[in-house]
Symmetry: C2
Subunit: 702 residues, 2 copies
């Protein structure tokens, strides 16, 4: 029996489980009339945003589709690529859409459940987060299965290929390219959502908190609904699309190396089965995320952690038997999976160490606030830079271990594909339990929103305290999630470089490679690649600044023009802020996205395939370091501020607190816009290069 | 006749010219008693610092010398290397020492001359800056000549080698290693000086300006002398040692590739002659730096620029004839020189565009101050990141052009050494007019100090206005200087990678290279290399923060304990601040310096030569981008603040100004400590790798 049926089954199980959780969340009571009113406003805003985003993105997808279609007519790219591109984008968007629908449905329900107990609040928020986790996994596997069965049918019935090896190769290299659709969608979702959420957040804070002196989430602030919408479109829909892309990207890049590595169909099956088993492991894990009614924050964290660890343990054990059964001669593949799993967790720990206020770095950072904002900024930047050391060492070790374990030999270049297949497997291993890790990640913004609703609906101190506890718990678990996301991005990108070279060799067997770092196109590619994440970070940060500026003006205008607003006698115009955020984020997300697609193609046309390989390596290493730095600096600034708000170094309202707020504001686009967007940039660059490999190769062979 | 006699002659001309300028400056009147008193305090502080630094550095050099000596006894490194290491460090230190002596002698003289006219002030400051420029060049060429003649004597008389090619190869590979001594010294001078100057600056500002509300350079501030000392030890002595290292580094790395490139002794002669001719070109240029007595700032800038451009034009023309005469068959080498010269200038222009308040980026940045410090920081960071695009493209173009012009062919790896020799020549071309570019760079801190003395000696508004004009002029010319420094660092580093590989091939002809970016050790090396500049920047920024903190406490203590200080009735204890800065900078410069030396050796022992090559490439590309970003962000923050102080966006004392001061404070360690230190890190990593290549190769062949 074709093992791919198991993958399809895994997909259905994931989607079924997601649906049952969805219904469970939906059956929770919605709360008071006031809560429903607020939640509806958030829901409407989020839907309006998504509608507009999908409209804008459709145009982009249509243009790229036409380009790819023309290229396929000219024979530069395979006929299926334009369609694979579309489905990749479609399923990625759908993941984000469902995730966000669930999140906006769950936020008032979470707030209402938190009225009873911390644990009940957690259950609702976590279940809603898990819906997204399993939808991402389920749709990812669905897309993979559909294409697999369609292509196998095609190459065995319609356009019959001679050998099984050729069939597999054609299947996997077609599937590889739907990664580009997913990556493009992820980029739009992350960048657009990231700009929206931070513009609203910064705009609301700058005028509301700083100028008008009203508390956070105060209903008098015209940007408050936009801020809550932002959490959903950025941190939920954006993250869903992002991790959908990581997930399928790691699977297809690994599969595409299977033939070149000499593992054949068994090599394709391993990452697929690993993913399917990951669904089961994740489901098992979710049952351990429960605790007593009188749970404290500490026991809740333990419950969440237990869930993730049990899933990891299940997949570790199961993968041994999978490898033993499917690739009996290459048990090293199992060790590559373990290397990936362990590396993901270790990166998560370092993230937590550098960003949590339980440890020295963030404690020290909050102390720098006593000498003003400048020292807070310097401290946060150097903390972020310092925090890159261990992740680099961990990824380096994972690369070396998985390379050697899978039969790579550095003295024998013909074995490289074997070794790099191992690196890809490590990435898949890291992401196999995405169902549950994403659940612990996605529940954070839901809890955050629940807190906003509790505040706006005046539900009292106790509820707010509980939602705050859930939110801050989310920050800690998100650290682990981020570790998996960035670590898998680096490993996937390395597998994609290998996939790129193997694609080019298939398209243009006469192409001469010289990937030596002393070859000038490679060198220049490395330089440009190292620069790209910086340019990308700059563009996204500037976009946040520009969008925030327009919100600042709008909020100021409303405070001035709407009489009785500050006294709570008149309603602000929430919708205009949401609309403004939507419009500016849609406008500003385009330039960085276009850049990410255009640069690898243009550089390829100028410098050829060696230059592109250099570009990919440069973007990966520099992007990894910069993304880790930005994410950790941002996380630490956030928590340093919260640490002060908890009463340290003068507490809320002190000069120290003001200084820490500056750090937090700088950190917002760092950790929620630019940092995660770099993650996607790394993989999108590779995906685009692979899709356009044919064009570049043909032009340079002319 | 051996053309190297011309190099020795060039060295003597440079030193002679420097001496005549030194005497000219010395003959200027020193000014009033009060001025002499202040200048003496600065001089004493600077000397005390240097004494202590050289003591600390001596221990480091002694340790490394012993290690190298033992290794040379064991046959892992050549017998001359320990001594070449020492002379490299000695001459680098001497350059810094003489430069600083001249600068501290010139600062009160400049202030006094500025009493007469802007032009007179410029002449004194520029002449003093030129002393350093020509001392650096002269001592660099002297070190080169001495070793050349000694080694030629040795290999032709004592330890006679069979062929001329072997002799040249041995000479150049020995000379290459004195680069490590120069790099180590440069690192200590830059990092130590950088920590000192910024700790004093930040410390003085935080308490004096912000807390006590007294103006900058006020004599009541106990840290004011330390601040002025810092300008000398950081921006003068540090810069001198830094550029000494760049200068000799580019020459020796290019020469060492000459034999491998097939150019033989002629290939060695070209960079040497280019440097010698650069002396003449620079001297010619200095005569054009003069203007009428009623000069405005604009005409002065024009005068300075004219000097630099004329030098560049002279060297461009002369180099054509040199190449024609020495390497008649390879006129492409001439185009490599031109590529380097033009690239240096273009990078300088982009630096100016991004950092000068005459252009949009810095103007926009100063506007962000209206919404507070957070937007200033975000704006500055994204400006810095954005500013990396053009330098990367320019360096990339220079690499490609010089590679092809000198006979490199990307399809023929055996031609790579030819092409990379061209890249080295481009770096030498860029630095050939260092005599004058360094002069326009070094005069800035002298003018800055003159301003400080004018303020403290109450010389009146007019003099202060003139010294301020000179200082801000210096910022503009320094931008060009920085372009040359960073651009040449990148090109030199590439030549050094090639030199590294060629060294390893000589030491271990059986070593198997696989420098492909898909080779895991190369990949992991790239990752670690990309991370190193971040770690280095973090360590140096933290060091500045820590040292500044101690100054803050000391200044607060003095304000509290010394009665009558604020009323101007009592003298502060300047010496204690100087001493504190000295001690903390000496203590804090060690960890990053040791790290820079240890990492390439340890990584080499683990990952072998391919890993080291990856490390070098990773450090170069990521370091280049990060250094440009930090330097430009810092420069722009500085000028945005000055722009506001000139009356824009509310002017001095406004909320906008306070926000801009935060940016400037963050920018200080960016542009004056971490950024320049990364420059040196890039080359030091290569130099250390080359020196320890033997050890790494032997261990990995075992």
């Amino acid at each position: 029996m074709d093992v791919m049926y198991l993958v399809a089954l895994g997909s259905l199980i994931a989607l079924g489980f997601a649906f049952s959780l969805f219904k469970k969340v939906k059956n929770q009571p919605e709360g008071t009339e006031r809560m429903i009113e607020i939640a509806t406003a958030i829901r409407k805003g989020a839907s309006a945003y998504l509608r507009r985003q999908y409209k804008g993105v459709s145009i982009f997808f249509a243009v790229v589709f036409v380009v790819l279609f023309i290229l396929s007519m000219m024979g530069y790219v395979n006929n299926f690529i334009p369609f694979a591109f579309l489905t990749g984008g479609f399923f990625s968007a759908l993941s984000g859409f469902i995730g966000m629908k669930t999140a906006t449905m769950a936020n008032d329900r979470t707030a209402f459940a938190a009225k009873d107990s911390l644990n009940k609040g957690l259950r609702v928020a976590f279940s809603a987060g898990a819906v997204m986790g399993f939808v991402v996994v389920g749709l990812g596997l669905l897309d993979l299965s559909i294409w697999y069965f369609f292509l196998r049918f095609w190459y065995t019935t319609v356009d019959v290929l001679k050998s099984e090896a050729l069939i597999i190769q054609n299947i996997t290299s077609n599937m590889l390219t739907f990664g580009m659709g997913a990556s493009c969608m992820a980029l739009f979702a992350r960048v657009g959502g990231g700009i929206f959420t931070k513009a609203a957040d910064v705009g609301a804070d700058l005028v509301g908190k700083v100028e008008a002196g009203i508390p956070e989430d105060d209903p008098r602030n015209p940007a408050v609904i936009a801020d809550n919408v932002g959490d959903n479109v950025g941190d939920v829909a954006g993250m869903g699309a992002d991790l959908y892309e990581s997930y399928v990207g790691s699977i297809v890049s690994t599969s595409s190396l299977a033939v070149a590595a000499g593992f054949g169909m068994s090599g394709v099956a391993v990452p697929m089965l690993l993913a399917a088993l990951g669904v089961i492991a994740s489901i098992i894990g979710t049952f351990f995320v429960r605790t007593k009614e009188d749970a404290t924050q500490k026991t809740l964290l333990k419950a969440l952690r237990t869930g993730t660890y049990i899933s990891a343990a299940v997949i570790a054990v199961a993968s041994y038997f999978v490898v033993k059964a499917v690739l009996p001669g290459s048990i090293g593949v199992f060790w590559a999976i373990i290397a990936g799993l362990v590396a993901g967790m270790l990166i998560g720990f370092t993230t937590e160490y550098y960003t949590s206020d339980n440890y020295k770095p963030t404690k020290n950072l909050s102390a720098t606030s006593e000498t003003g904002p400048a020292t807070v900024i310097i401290g946060g930047l150097s903390l972020g830079m310092m925090s890159t050391v261990w992740p680099v060492i961990i990824v380096g070790a994972a690369v070396i271990i998985s390379f050697f374990a899978c039969g790579g030999n550095i003295l024998d270049p013909s074995s490289f594909n074997k070794g790099l297949y191992g690196v890809g497997v490590a990435a898949v291993g890291m992401l196999s339990t995405l169902g549950i890790t994403l659940a612990t990640d996605a529940y954070g913004p839901i809890a955050d929103n629940a807190g906003g609703i509790a505040e706006m609906a005046h539900m009292g101190e106790e509820v707010r305290r509980r939602t705050d506890a859930l939110d801050s718990l989310g920050n800690t678990t998100a650290a682990t999630g981020k570790g998996f996301a960035i670590g898998s991005a680096a490993l996937t990108a390395l597998a994609l470089i290998a996939a790129y070279i193997s694609e080019v060799s298939i398209i243009a067997p006469n192409m001469q490679f010289n990937l030596s770092i002393t070859n000038p196109p490679v060198l220049v590619g490395l330089f440009v690649g190292a620069m790209m994440p910086f340019l990308f970070a700059a563009m996204t940060m500037e976009a946040v600044g520009e969008a925030a500026q327009s919100i600042v003006h709008e909020v100021r205008r409303q405070f001035k023009n709407i009489k009785g607003l500050m006294e709570g006698k008149a309603q602000p115009d929430y919708a205009s802020c949401v609309d403004l955020c939507t419009r500016s984020s849609q406008r500003l997300m385009l330039p960085p996205a276009i850049l990410a697609v255009v640069v690898p193609v243009v550089l390829g046309l100028i410098l050829g395939v060696n230059g592109v390989a250099g570009l990919l390596a440069g973007t990966t290493v520099s992007g990894f370091v910069l993304a880790v730095m930005m994410a950790n600096a941002g996380g630490s600034w956030d928590n340093a501020k919260k640490y002060i708000e908890a009463g340290k170094h003068g507490g809320k309202g002190s000069e120290s607190h003001k200084a820490a707020v500056v750090g937090d504001t700088v950190g917002d686009p760092f950790k929620d816009t630019s940092g995660p967007a770099i993650n996607i940039l790394i993989k999108l660059t590779s995906m685009v290069s692979i899709v356009f490999a044919g064009v570049v190769a043909v032009i340079h062979l002319m």
